[in-house]
């Protein structure tokens, strides 16, 4: 994603203003039920309930309270994991240490991969969900672990606990939040003789939104290409120092994570306190953050957390996650309000999320007034559900998941569909795609078809009160029954957050009739109607 600063600079470039002021752009918000749906998908990864939809339909002023409740919903934390993955990209399908290095089976591979990459994401998500100061992500002395991760790494996992829990490493690593997690540094590796410089680039990108890798690595053509020459150049050549004067002092704080063998999983599982001080001597610099000396990795985390750009970057990250696009100069009001809200609330990310979701820029559903081509191309009047969102929506609707060999296929790449359905893989896709391409439509269709059959099979046989969606009909219901049309209307309302017209109900009833005619089976007929709704553009967009 392009840093906002660059965007702002580009926006300041030299075109003269037009003679007559153009009509202002007007952002028309989504109607309250669809806006509730957008908020619920963004903050909980789930559709709103019928009761919630009814509430905002009856009284749109309920929207704020419902949004606030979403921030305290148990699903919110899991949604934050997904949003941070889209920016931090730690959940890849390959690390230098793999499941077989730890004696695990192939069927454990997916859980292994997601445990490793999930560690820093879950730490951040826990800080946000528990409404602690956001700076905690760089300063706390705990991490997040599940039993698998605790069996791989030197982590003191709470006795008798299950699932992801706050836990502590036992290998003497500093208190630096995500900077002290193996998960971050397994993703952002540094070969031995790179001396953590690649990791420093990641720190600058992820926590202060400075992407130094966009700056060219230029070669002094007069300099002999020897290893010693390169290290000397980093310390003495102006063209190198412009970056390395910043990079080297940060890299010096990370030597406790520098392995002596690039491919030793055992080396990578442990922090090495005895190597900490080698950073300054090896790189010939004092550990520092932009010229401010720091005391090791813990000091680095504290220094970053005090840097004003840290809050700016946190707000940008959140805004990009919810707008599903890069932020632009036109988003300045949203960013300023979110930043102010965060600063005024002891760095509460929830406060920033409230400000973002309150903004007309977030809520926009249509444009009017003086709409330029650039406005039309930029303003997120709609977003699409990518793989990880489809996964959570279906799981929430009915407990549906699609797995093979232990892997959740909507959350994996090697044999699954995460990238094929527009999700971020951490390398080639660094933003969730908002273009509904062939493979995205295919995956969305196959998931809808299989999930709809699961739901129809379950619901038509379920005792009263236990149906997921088909709670007003049974296997004997026909289109002549009043409940039949009410059921279709309820499905439409729940899945699309739109009240269907009579014509739409007629069309769906006709679809049911045709499907029943082909199959002579009410389950197949309801599955067809359900699947059509789950593939509806208004379901897949929000």
């Amino acid at each position: 994603m392009k840093p906002l600063l660059l965007t702002l600079l580009l926006a300041c470039g030299g075109e003269s203003p037009p003679a007559a002021a153009p009509a202002p752009l007007v952002r028309e918000p989504l109607d309250p039920p669809r806006l509730l749906r957008r908020m619920s998908l963004d903050l909980r990864g789930a559709l709103p309930s019928i009761d919630e939809l009814d509430a905002v339909e009856a009284d749109p002023s309920q929207l704020g309270a419902l949004r606030d409740a979403m921030l305290d919903d148990p699903r919110f934390e899991e949604r934050m994991v997904v949003l941070y993955q889209e920016r931090w990209r730690t959940q890849t399908d390959e690390y230098r240490g793999m499941y077989y290095d730890f004696g695990l089976e192939m069927t454990d591979e997916y859980e292994f991969l997601r445990a490793i990459g999930g560690e820093p994401l879950r730490l951040a998500a826990r800080v946000v969900a528990s409404d602690r100061p956001y700076s905690d992500i760089l300063t706390v002395d705990w991490t997040m672990a599940n039993p698998l991760l605790a069996s791989l790494f030197p982590i003191d996992y709470p006795d008798g606990a299950t699932g992801w829990q706050e836990a502590r490493y036992t290998d003497g690593r500093p208190a630096a939040g995500v900077l002290s997690t193996n998960g971050l540094w397994w993703r952002y590796v540094s070969p031995i003789f790179n001396y953590n410089r690649a990791r420093t680039a990641a720190i600058l990108d992820l926590f202060v939104c400075q992407d130094i890798l966009t700056r060219p690595v230029l070669l002094d053509t007069a300099l002999a290409p020897t290893a010693a020459g390169a290290e000397e150049a980093i310390r003495s050549q102006d063209v190198c120092l412009s970056c390395h004067a910043t990079v080297e002092p940060i890299s010096a704080t990370l030597f406790g994570f520098l392995p002596e063998d690039d491919f030793s999983a055992l080396e990578m599982t442990r922090y090495h306190p005895e190597r900490e001080r080698a950073g300054e001597s090896t790189l010939g610099v004092q550990a520092a953050w932009y010229g401010q000396p720091v005391d090791g990795l813990a000091g680095l985390g504290q220094a970053i957390a005090r840097d004003g750009r840290f809050v700016d970057c946190a707000v940008e990250t959140a805004a990009q996650g919810l707008l599903r696009r890069d932020v632009a100069a036109e988003d300045g009001p949203l960013l300023r309000e979110a930043r102010e809200a965060m600063v005024q609330s002891d760095l509460s990310m929830k406060a920033a999320l409230r400000a973002i979701t309150d903004s007309p820029i977030y809520q926009v559903g249509a444009l009017s007034g003086g709409v330029t081509a650039a406005d039309a191309a930029r303003e997120s009047t709609a977003r699409i559900l990518v793989a990880t969102q489809l996964r959570s929506v279906y799981a929430d609707l009915s407990g549906y998941s699609w797995r093979r060999f232990g892997a959740d296929l909507l959350d994996s790449d090697s044999g699954g569909y995460r990238v094929m359905a527009n999700g971020v893989d951490g390398e080639s896709l660094s933003d969730p795609l908002q273009a509904p391409g062939l493979t995205w439509a295919l995956v969305a269709g196959r998931v809808a078809q299989t999930a709809a059959r699961d739901i129809a099979l379950h619901d038509l046989a379920a005792p009263a009160g236990e149906a997921f969606l088909l709670d007003q009909v049974d296997a004997g219901s026909t289109p002549a029954d009043p409940a039949f049309r009410e059921q279709i209307a309820a499905l439409h309302w729940r899945l699309l957050a739109k009240r269907p017209s009579e014509a739409t109900i007629d069309a769906l009833a006709a679809l049911w009739n045709e499907a029943y005619g082909l199959s002579n089976n009410p389950t197949e007929a309801w599955a067809t109607v359900l699947s059509a709704l789950l593939r509806d553009p208004a379901f897949l967009a929000y």
Partner: protein, 433 residues
Amino acid sequence: MNRRPLSASRRDLLRLLPAGLGVGLLGGLARPSRAAAEGERRFLFIFADGGWDPAFVFHTAFDSPYVDMPPDGAELAEVGDLRWVSGPTRPNVDAFFTRFGDRAAILNGVEVRSIAHERCRRILLTGSSDPDSTDIPSQIGAASAQRLPLSHVVISGPAFQNATSEGVVRIGQRGQLAGLLSGSCVEGSEPIHTLPSPSLVALEDAYVRARAQSLAQSAQAGVSARIHQGYADALADIEAAAAYQDVLNPSGSDSLSQLLGAVDLLEAGVARCAIVADLGLFNGRWDHHSEITRQTPSFQGLFGNLSTLMERLTTTPGTWGPTLADEITVVVFSEMGRYPSLNQSMGKDHWMTTSMLFLGGGIRGGQVVGAYSETVAGTPLIPETGELDPDGSRGGQVPQPSQVGATLMHLAGMDPAEAFGADTPPLLALLDE
């Protein structure tokens, strides 16, 4: 990037499809005639993942005090103007250049300007370090005169799209696309999933297509309209792609199978660009910070595959050219070079200058364009002629990935200045024109 709307003929074809024909049935659908436009060049990208060492093949630096050449008795080999590094442990390299050297051009001294894998891949494929850049194959694919169902197929290897770029189709690391098209994707799933019968799928498809078209037509111009139109287009593309399930399902996951599968797609005219990764020996990638000699078998394997590929291309009749080798341009590249000298582990670290290999259609073969300086930087050259201009006094430039991108766009019939500006001239010296 906005895609062209469906051509009238495609729309007519789809409209004429029986309403009952759904995805599940399309395996038997007759393929449309070759979709690629007459005279339109297609492109195959082969990506050596990890950073190859040009000194094993391309950089003939036998007299350099700085470059550690392969220790296997490497020596200079020449055929006409083509020069390469020959080694007794890499006979496939010699065999390839001897047989196909007249269709091959080496570009030396390409300045990547980065030494980070992820960023180098992006720079090589997009011509830019901008995280929002879209790769050249995607742009070329989207610019096809006819809208192809699979404009750029990622069989393996990297692809870079910005949030709104369309038309790139990933086959999946294990060929998942074919399973999605055929419905076999549900096999082995946990819990057991089943798909509806083909007739029910067809019924449902027709309903969904009508809904997508309806919303696409009523949406306000902008993001909503783009999403709804994109969805309607994607549903149509699924139908078209389903006719090619056999070529979308390469028989193996090895590099050669993937390469030949890519040729199938390009030959069928269903795709304009494709990319395949070569992961080197034992799929261990080419990133040898220790024991750089492990690149020997990787080059041996790569050039063996290239010979098989060129044999296929040069012996298969083309659609508008004599053979496929005249219609398909092959670009072989890696994201970076290796440090000129060995490190303490007898490996080589990253280096910001590299070499590329171009084969086939539109390429002036039998030549080396560009050069390395004594300190293994790129040497400025005149892009139109390839003449070296070491001091830059005649306006020469060190070859940039953006210029490679401009060159490929030029070959594709696009205006590269629109993407890269007028100060990024194509390397016409590489081209047979």
